[in-house]
């Protein structure tokens, strides 16, 4: 169970649920969400052809504010990976993994420095398939 800051998680407009559909394509949809006092994450159940009960998903909560003169500010996201379970007409997200960034907590240059090793590792892993 990841260490989730529920106070910050409550501060988004909506959630974007992503899963892989029966046709093999990734499928994303926005939906509303609620946090319960006992720290359950409940998503409104979108109308979909595929069942989402027991499905592996990721759920993105994000925000960005445009600056009129150019660029953006107040960039932040929380991305939760886990499984959804149908529960009383809602989808309860059982989170297993979290990645997040909030530029008010970690400014962009520091964030880049922090995740550079992760990027390097990704490129190292990718290299054999590029050379193949």
């Amino acid at each position: 169970m990841p260490d989730i800051d529920y106070k910050r998680l409550a501060n988004f407009r909506n959630a974007i649920l992503t899963t892989v559909g029966d046709d093999g394509y990734p499928f994303s949809i926005t939906t509303n969400y609620q946090l319960t006092p006992d720290r359950k994450i409940l998503l409104d159940k979108p109308i979909l052809a595929s069942k989402l009960d027991g499905k592996r998903v990721n759920v993105l909560f994000n925000h960005i504010t445009g600056v009129p003169t150019g660029g953006y500010t107040d960039r932040r996201y929380m991305l939760l990976w886990g499984t959804t379970h149908e529960e009383r007409g809602k989808l309860r997200l059982e989170p297993e993994k979290l990645s997040e960034w909030d530029e008010k907590i970690l400014p962009f240059p520091e964030y880049c420095a922090k995740v550079a090793p992760q990027g390097a590792k990704y490129l190292e892993n990718l290299q054999p398939s590029v050379e193949a």
Binding site: G24, I29, T31, D44, I47, G66
Partner: protein
């Protein structure tokens, strides 16, 4: 992406996508062109400028933002478009394509 080109793009945030309140999901087949990271994207600059006119200020100082201006061009051939009018995903969407 080269191994599995099935992708989707969700346009849902009015701030970034300028789609108003509507929500549009495009699913398709992606082609990644990484043959010229420094100049391969330049032919699309007019589209970029239309969305973010201030990009020219960054472009003028291109040498300061080396990695920012290295770009892989990803083209997506749409196969299916799913649209929720006014972003109401509790209602059945309109579906175009496959």
């Amino acid at each position: 992406m080269k191994e599995n080109p099935k992708v989707s793009m969700l346009f849902s945030n009015p701030e970034g996508t300028q789609t108003g309140k509507h929500v549009v999901l495009v699913q398709g087949i992606a082609t990644a062109d990484d043959s010229d990271l420094d100049h391969g994207w330049e032919k699309y600059l007019s589209y970029w400028r239309k969305k973010e006119p201030y990009i020219d200020a960054y472009l003028a100082e291109r040498e300061k933002f080396g990695w920012f201006w290295k770009r892989v061009v990803v083209q997506v051939e749409p196969k299916k478009i799913t649209a929720w009018k006014n972003g109401d995903t509790s209602r059945a969407p309109e579906v175009f394509g496959a």
